[in-house]
């Protein structure tokens, strides 16, 4: 049993935001069939959004490029999906929310509260939505204000998901901590782009988007490593984790648990596979507790 910001998780793998999280039924499936220790919903905002035109996600040799554009039905319509996930998933359900200001974040959190999410994850890191996500998440003052605004009205844990598209992620991490965050989640996608050379058109409907998957793992490991040093609160590692080895590496950098996103492309039960792999690794190495792994790399100078 893993405890993270007071939540009890059966295993240290969590479904990342924006992946298979549009419906309650799908979140339940990831928990049951996939074996995730907790699930994070699609990011939900104050008004319905259809997102960017397609193509919104393409697979590259080194990872995935996406620009979904925060499509979501808004909090009043998502409420019933959250209730389904809470009722039937059997794991902690974290509501990912976004807004353009502290007031909007507050409005969405307040709207979803009665469905009893186990925690909130504040999306201040989506790299391709004008006025939202990284547009607010690269400003430390705004990150602190948003975190404080949500903390002010909820009693469940608040996680803040950080963008790596800044010169110093620890500065944003510190702001989240100062605002009262219970944990930070690092990282969201890295800005990226692909161009179709036959036509010259950028491939994504939004022209550019965010890179996830294998290619971003070293970036995520470095961000987690730095945040672990800079912050008191736990760091949740995400970015290119697709195997138990990746998860162990992320934990040695300082991640308390990991989130898994794009890797569901290969197999839905990637969560079970990773958590079983971690258990076997702990046994083989003679660790009595996963805590012995977390931040281990910092001691190896």
């Amino acid at each position: 049993m893993y405890t993270l910001t007071g939540l009890k998780l059966k295993n240290p793998t969590i479904l990342a935001a924006g992946i298979l999280g549009t419906t309650g039924a799908s979140l339940c499936r990831v928990a049951h069939e996939g074996g995730a220790g907790a699930v994070v919903t699609k990011s939900i905002g104050p008004i319905p959004k259809t997102g960017h035109p397609n193509p919104s996600m393409v697979k590259l040799d080194c990872g995935f490029l996406n620009a979904m554009g925060l499509p979501n039905p808004s909090y009043p319509s998502f409420f019933q999906e959250l209730e389904i996930a809470k009722k039937d998933s059997g794991v902690p359900v974290i509501a990912s929310i976004f807004g353009g200001s502290p007031a909007e974040f507050k409005e969405v959190a307040k709207g979803l509260l009665p469905a009893k999410p186990d925690a909130f994850e504040l999306n201040v890191s989506c790299p391709h939505a004008e006025g939202y996500g990284a547009a607010v998440g690269s400003n430390p003052c705004l990150v602190e204000a948003i975190t404080a605004a949500v903390k002010d009205i909820v009693s469940v844990p608040v996680w803040v998901k950080l963008t790596p598209n800044v010169s110093d992620i620890t500065c944003i991490g510190n702001a989240a901590e100062a605002g009262g965050a219970d944990a930070v989640v690092a990282i969201n996608t890295l800005k990226g782009m692909a161009i179709d050379i036959e036509s010259g058109y950028p491939v994504l409907g939004n022209r550019s988007g965010g890179l996830s998957g294998k290619a971003v793992k070293p970036v995520a490991v470095k961000c987690v490593y730095d945040l672990y040093t800079a912050l008191e609160i736990p760091v949740i590692g995400v970015g290119g984790v697709s195997s138990w080895q990746d998860a162990i590496e992320m934990m040695m950098a300082g991640a308390a648990v990991v989130q898994v996103g794009s890797a569901v492309y290969d197999r839905l039960d990637v969560f079970s596979e990773i958590s079983t792999g971690i258990e076997a690794f702990l046994q083989r190495k003679g660790y009595s507790d996963v805590k012995e792994l977390i931040g281990l790399a910092h001691e190896m100078v």
Binding site: L20, S26, N66, P73
Partner: protein, 259 residues
């Protein structure tokens, strides 16, 4: 995969609102029922069932398809795929019933042909609004017997495909493949359930696709949480029991919309 560049080599006018676009390469591994993401550059990317290894058959319904209809031979679009699961093929000697409504005939024409080529006896119930809207009648006829229904009675039985199905003995078929508008397939679903032949059936479903590759979850159906783009678009009738089929779907924002 990045989209392949597909050059249009031929355009067939199937009906006033439906055209088949043949392109310059073949999806050799295509299974009937699989789809491709068609990228009309600068506009949108939409899923389309393959009507053969090198063609898509498109109904003009929205912005992307309207733009597609402006393209001429020699023009190109982007293509990714083939994606998803197709219809399962019968074995030699098995009897196959194909139920196609409107542009739903597109992925079923290659299925009827493939079923015939492995030695299955193929019967098709082909429905459309009127005689001029019937798709691939010749292809289905070459694969086996065809029963026609039109809403206005301009050809075949006046009414819906279910009116034809009512007069057929469904227990003789080993496989039943269904594709068409959701209103139609949900009535067929109910009928097959009543006649206790659901376990032999497969349905192709349409939902709003965002990523198209099984990651985002925009097309997940209730209550199973199955992804239409990846776990479908073809589902067995049994998988759709107690599902949202015929009741509601989700729009691009994820909101439930009544069918």
């Amino acid at each position: 995969m990045l989209p392949l560049n597909a050059t249009i080599v031929q355009i067939n006018e199937e009906s006033p609102a439906v055209r088949t676009f043949f392109f310059d390469f073949q999806f050799e591994t295509m299974k009937p029922g699989q789809f491709v993401m068609v990228w009309v550059r600068g506009v949108d990317e939409v899923p389309m069932g393959l009507s053969s290894k090198n063609s898509i058959t498109v109904q003009k319904v929205g912005e992307a398809t309207s733009k597609l209809f402006e393209l001429k031979e020699g023009d190109s679009f982007g293509l990714r795929g083939p994606f998803g699961n197709g219809f399962s093929l019968p074995s030699e000697g098995e009897k196959t019933l194909v139920i196609a409504g409107g542009v739903g005939a597109a992925p079923l024409a290659p299925y009827a042909e493939a079923a015939r080529s492995v030695g299955s006896e193929v019967h098709t119930v082909l429905g459309a609004r009127s005689a001029g809207d019937l798709l691939f009648e010749k292809r289905f006829a070459e694969a086996g017997e065809v029963y026609i229904s039109t809403d206005d009675g301009s050809k075949g039985t006046k009414g819906f495909v279910t009116d034809v199905l009512n007069s057929l003995n469904l227990s003789v078929y080993d496989r039943i493949a269904v594709c068409g508008p959701e209103i139609m397939i949900s009535s067929v679903f109910r009928l097959l359930k009543e006649r206790q032949v659901l376990e032999k059936s497969e349905f192709s479903l349409q939902r709003y696709f965002k990523c198209g590759i099984g990651v985002c979850g925009a097309c997940c159906i209730d209550k199973s949480g199955l992804r239409v783009c990846r776990d479908g678009p073809v589902f067995s009738g049994v998988q759709l029991l107690d599902s949202e089929l015929g009741k509601y779907a989700r729009d691009a924002s994820g909101r439930r919309v009544k069918i």
